[in-house]
């Protein structure tokens, strides 16, 4: 019958484009969250390594964000933001929560990197006349980065996949788009497989280049 085909129609090439666009949105929100969150996280990590008092207070706050499931943080923030006068669309709200989430994880990775460099190495750098920032830039950064790079890649890949949760706010990224198509086509296995392939296509280059970079460093 004519009417049933308007509600349920098969998967077409246009739908693949639709998923592709959604994958780009996943990539966009993830890249923004990972890059901004990493920069903030590095400074938080520096703060964590400065003193015990800071490490305790800031560490507790970071622990809260790391312990509460991301989906709850998203729903809470999206619904409470208007109360404090923030009018955010799903993308903006999702991005802010993802940035906070990323920076909390990166903070601990960064602290690990700074600790991996160690006080004796930093004293040696300072004894050559380097100032605090030169020590950070030329000694702590390159040595610490190599030490915790695999951990950072893990965080980045995690954020890329966790960005799927932003779909519950209504932002049409890869997972949300898949859900929409599944409702229309009733072809869940096919569409979820395609969505999975897109996620893999987004993640694989990251882990591939990360491995290449690690190999180059280890030479």
């Amino acid at each position: 019958m004519e009417s049933s085909s308007t509600y349920f129609s098969g998967f077409s090439l246009n739908d693949l484009w639709y998923l592709g666009e959604a994958a780009l949105r996943t990539l966009w929100i993830s890249v923004l969250a990972i890059s901004i969150g990493s920069v903030i996280g590095i400074f938080l990590g520096l703060a964590l390594s400065v003193s015990r008092v800071v490490a305790f207070t800031l560490g507790t706050i970071l622990d809260i964000f790391r312990s509460v499931p991301l989906i709850i943080q998203l729903v809470l923030f999206f619904n409470f933001a208007p109360i404090i006068g923030l009018r955010l669309n799903p993308f903006e709200a999702g991005l802010i929560v993802l940035i906070v989430y990323t920076s909390c994880y990166v903070a601990n990775v960064a602290r690990g990197g700074i600790e991996a460099v160690g006080q004796p190495m930093r004293r040696a750098a300072r004894s050559l006349g380097m100032n605090y920032w030169q020590d950070l830039r030329y000694v702590v950064w390159p040595i610490g980065l190599r030490a915790v790079f695999p951990a950072w890649v893990g965080v980045a890949l995690g954020v890329l996949k966790d960005s799927a949760l932003v779909s519950i706010l209504g932002y049409v990224e890869l997972l949300k788009a898949s859900q929409i198509l599944m409702t229309r086509t009733q072809e869940a296995i096919l569409i979820l497989s395609i969505a999975g392939a897109f996620y893999f296509a987004l993640s694989y280059p990251i882990s591939y280049y990360a491995t290449r970079l690690e190999q180059r460093w280890s030479q």
Partner: protein
């Protein structure tokens, strides 16, 4: 060159240095001996400004190291320091390790920094290792790399903090030879050391630290030959065993 007067230093409640007075003149080699925890290494950290002090004054080359208006970074450029652990930068080649500080601290052009680095590496006998990474070097070679790295800043004096303590016995000699070479060239040096033979042979004076004070300071022949302090006598008899 280095004038230390009435220096007190403590970590929280623990008093480590209790009134140190010491002058080291230009070209002099002073060895500092004493048992662990006597404050020897702390003295070097204070001279270099890596540790704050509670009381007293340290003047290096007419600059009060711990005065509030002193730029520690520029003080340290005149003062090379070599640590027990060599702390070579693992991500840089041997040549880059030495050229880094001249380039970013002294702001020399890259070519000139590399030239200085190469000269200092040849000086300590690592001229054939320039493009190697530190991980390919032995402990003794890495410690000589650390010496070259400090020398590249063209310091007026050098501080050695137990530079050979972390080395395998067979590698101690090459590092001591390098330090000896610097002594012959007239470098002002303070060497905290456990190598009594070295202290005796190279130093102009030897200071014996005991519980945060200079218990005895004298020329090596006197200090080792006829120690006056009871603690020094005990220390030397233990070391000889």
């Amino acid at each position: 060159m280095i004038k230390i007067s009435n220096l007190y230093k403590s970590y929280d409640d623990l008093e480590v240095l209790k009134g140190i007075n010491l002058n080291v003149s230009k070209g002099e080699v002073l060895s500092v001996i004493g048992s662990s925890g006597s404050g020897k290494s702390t003295l070097l950290y204070c001279i270099n400004g890596l540790e704050p002090i509670q009381q007293g004054q340290i003047i290096v080359d007419d600059i009060d190291v711990h005065a509030s208006d002193t730029n520690l970074n520029s003080v340290r450029q005149n003062m090379g320091m070599v640590f027990q652990q060599w702390n070579s930068f693992p991500h840089l080649t041997v040549l880059e390790n030495v050229a880094l500080a001249p380039r970013i601290v002294s702001k020399l052009p890259k070519a000139q920094a590399l030239e200085i680095a190469e000269k200092q590496l040849r000086h300590v006998g690592l001229g054939d290792k320039l493009s190697k990474y530190p991980s390919a070097l032995s402990g003794g070679q890495q410690q000589r790399l650390a010496i070259a790295r400090a020398l590249a800043m063209e310091p007026k004096c050098m501080l050695f903090d137990e530079a050979t303590s972390a080395l395998d016995p067979e590698l101690v000699g090459e590092v001591l030879d390098t330090i000896r070479l610097l002594a012959e060239e007239g470098m002002t040096m303070i060497c905290v050391t456990h190598e009594m033979g070295f202290a005796r042979e190279v130093s102009d004076r030897v200071a014996f630290f005991h519980e945060g004070v200079i218990e005895e300071i004298n020329q090596p022949e006197e200090l080792f030959g006829a120690p006056k302090s009871v603690y020094l006598q005990k220390f030397l008899s233990k070391v000889k065993k």
